[in-house]
């Protein structure tokens, strides 16, 4: 038989964890005022005391931003993984149930009201996505009566929700004066530049979500085989599906309220790891978490470093790199 799954999980987690740490240090040291890799490592380890300007840049600006990128990337990749399994649809991504639409409307309203980015926009966008989540789950629950949450009604409910929200968003933008439009567009494309140190504690809220999703990794494997087969092998399908749906949506809502709508990470990272590691979620959950984190840190680094002045929204980079990367992997897996 194969290597026991426990060993594989430890090995992959260790490898991807090492990659994540290395990438983080590179991302913290790179930038317009570059600090050498080893020097950064020494400073972070507390071996050298940096001058105050370097300390400010590293601790107040770059480190929080790298942490945010890691949490956002990991959560979005994990969210995509869960929704692809739950809906058994390869096109599913973390925003598919309409979370993106709801939070975008919330965020745009907050910006139009002239609220500060934090906590104003964050709270509005979180509220927006919760309202959508409540609506979509109720819809899915009631249309199916006492039977299980149907994946088709969930999917359609989410798509309709997103379409409706897109119309509202377009309406709001069309009514907006021009200087605000760029703010809104940056938010819609996903932007980590607005990160402040004070926001970091909020990120801790997603940690329990990670744990619960990892515990439910095996039931997710069985759900891939169909809901009746999963039930026949001892899974309480209705409660597991509902729990995964709510936990994952909450996680994504928290993340989106801090980072805006960063696309593509949640779609492509799960597919990449599925191609590399196979369909077992006990392996995919930690891999997507760490891999998604590393990927978004790299993309954010490029978004900061590539333009000669200013920054690109990171959402542009994620798709620009992710799409070709995925196609290459797809072609290689066929041969």
């Amino acid at each position: 038989m194969n290597t026991p799954i426990g060993k594989k999980i430890v090995l992959t987690t260790f490898l991807l964890g090492t990659v994540l740490i290395l990438i983080s240090i590179i991302a913290i040291s790179a930038g317009s005022s570059g600090v050498h890799f080893w020097e950064t490592l020494a400073i972070l380890a507390g071996k050298t005391n940096p001058d105050s300007a370097t300390a400010t840049i590293l601790y107040q600006i770059r480190l929080p931003r790298v942490i945010l990128a890691a949490f956002v990337g990991g959560s979005l990749a994990l969210g995509g993984l869960v929704f692809q399994a739950l809906l058994r649809n390869p096109l599913a991504e973390p925003y598919i149930l309409g979370i993106s639409g709801g939070s975008a409307i919330g965020a745009i309203l907050a910006m139009l009201l002239g609220l500060s980015y934090f906590p104003g926009v964050t709270i509005f966008s979180f509220t927006g996505s919760l309202l959508v989540l409540a609506f979509v789950t109720t819809l899915a629950g009631t249309t199916m009566g006492n039977t299980m949450l149907s994946r088709d009604s969930l999917l359609l409910g989410g798509v309709m929700m997103n379409a409706f929200c897109a119309a509202v968003i377009m309406f709001l933008i069309s009514m907006t004066r021009s200087f605000q439009v760029q703010h809104i567009l940056y938010w819609l494309m996903g932007d980590l530049a607005t990160m402040q140190k004070g926001q970091l504690p909020i990120l801790l809220l997603v940690l329990p979500c990670f744990v619960i999703i990892f515990i439910l990794a095996r039931p997710m494997n069985l759900l891939l085989l169909g809901r009746e087969t999963a039930a026949a092998m001892g899974i309480n399908v209705k409660s597991i599906v509902m729990l995964l749906l709510v936990i994952t949506s909450l996680m994504v809502s928290i993340i989106v309220s801090l980072s805006g709508l960063i696309g593509f990470v949640g779609l492509v990272i799960p597919h990449i790891f599925r191609l590399l590691l196979g369909p077992d979620h006990r392996l995919l959950v930690p891999s997507c978490l760490l891999g998604g984190a590393s990927y978004l840190i790299v993309c954010d680094l490029l978004a900061r470093v590539l333009p000669s002045s200013g920054e690109l929204p990171v959402g542009i980079i994620t798709a620009l790199i992710g799409a070709p990367l995925f196609i290459v992997l797809l072609l290689r897996s066929r041969t």
Binding site: M1, R88, L225, T229, N236, G278
Partner: protein, 267 residues
């Protein structure tokens, strides 16, 4: 006589359509029980009700002297395994992955298998003769191989009852017999109860201890194969001409549906 499974007066309807009406049956421990009947008679629904996947509106299902509604899904799955009619092969799980999934109802909260679980899975694969396919993906298998993998998964669950929904429908005669002989051998060695839905009346005749004939959601007759596989009952239930005679194997009934072009020999 101990009944491992007891169903009394089950009724099930979907919207206004009556699917099962007042169905009752008992199955003894270690029995090979076959459910037959025309398409749409409610065979698969009956299987779903007695496995707890579908709740009936009326009547009770009792498994090992306990109402099925009082079981947790996990505990029920330790007693009962299901070999479904349709098998999802879209995701690239290997044969080994698939078979060991049968251990699910026996695993702890993190769902990690131990050495014992791998041993049980290996034995199951050996029993159904799929050990050589361990690392193949499900979609690379032939119909007969796939069915044996799914049966290995069911065996891996170490159940007292195995439910099979038309396990031989898509197979050639040799593979049909291989599947049926496997189930019969497993039953003999472990005393497992087997409940099978089938369209193949001759398999029902050769392997069944008892046969239940279902028509439009009602039980026409339950009994030993010879009494149920009766010309009048079958013709009335299936709505075609059917000849029943003694099989050359001896002791069992042989059922032959008669095509139009041969009808003149029988009128």
């Amino acid at each position: 006589m101990s009944h491992i499974l007891d169903i009394s007066n089950i009724s099930l309807s979907f919207r206004d359509k009556l699917i099962l009406s007042n169905v009752s049956l008992e199955v003894s421990a270690g029995e090979f029980f076959v459910i037959i009947g025309p398409n749409g008679a409610g065979k698969t629904s009956l299987l779903k009700v007695l496995s707890g996947l579908q709740k009936a509106q009326k009547g009770t299902v009792t498994i090992k002297d306990k109402n099925i509604l009082n079981y947790r899904r996990r505990n029920l799955s330790q007693i009962m395994a299901i070999v479904p009619q349709h098998i999802e092969v879209g995701f690239p799980f290997t044969v080994a992955d698939t078979v060991i999934m049968g251990r699910s109802p026996h695993l702890g909260i993190l769902g990690m298998e131990g050495e014992n679980d791998f041993h049980i899975a290996e034995e199951a694969m050996k029993f159904t003769d799929v050990s050589h396919l361990t690392d193949r993906k499900l979609f690379q298998l032939s119909g007969g191989e796939l069915q044996r993998v799914i049966i290995a998964r069911a065996i891996c669950q170490q159940p007292e009852i195995i439910l099979l929904d038309e396990p031989t429908t898509a197979l050639d005669p040799a593979h049909q017999l291989k599947i049926m002989d496997l189930m019969e051998k497993f039953r003999r060695e472990h005393g497992t109860t087997i409940i099978m839905v089938s369209h193949d009346l001759n398999l029902a005749s050769m392997y069944g201890d008892r046969v239940l004939l279902l028509k439009s959601g009602r039980v026409v007759k339950t009994g030993d194969p010879k009494s149920v596989l009766n010309k009048e009952l079958l013709e009335d239930s299936y709505g075609c001409r059917i000849q029943v005679d003694e099989s050359p194997l001896g002791g069992v009934a042989r059922v032959t549906p008669i095509p139009d072009k041969y009808l003149h020999n029988y009128d």
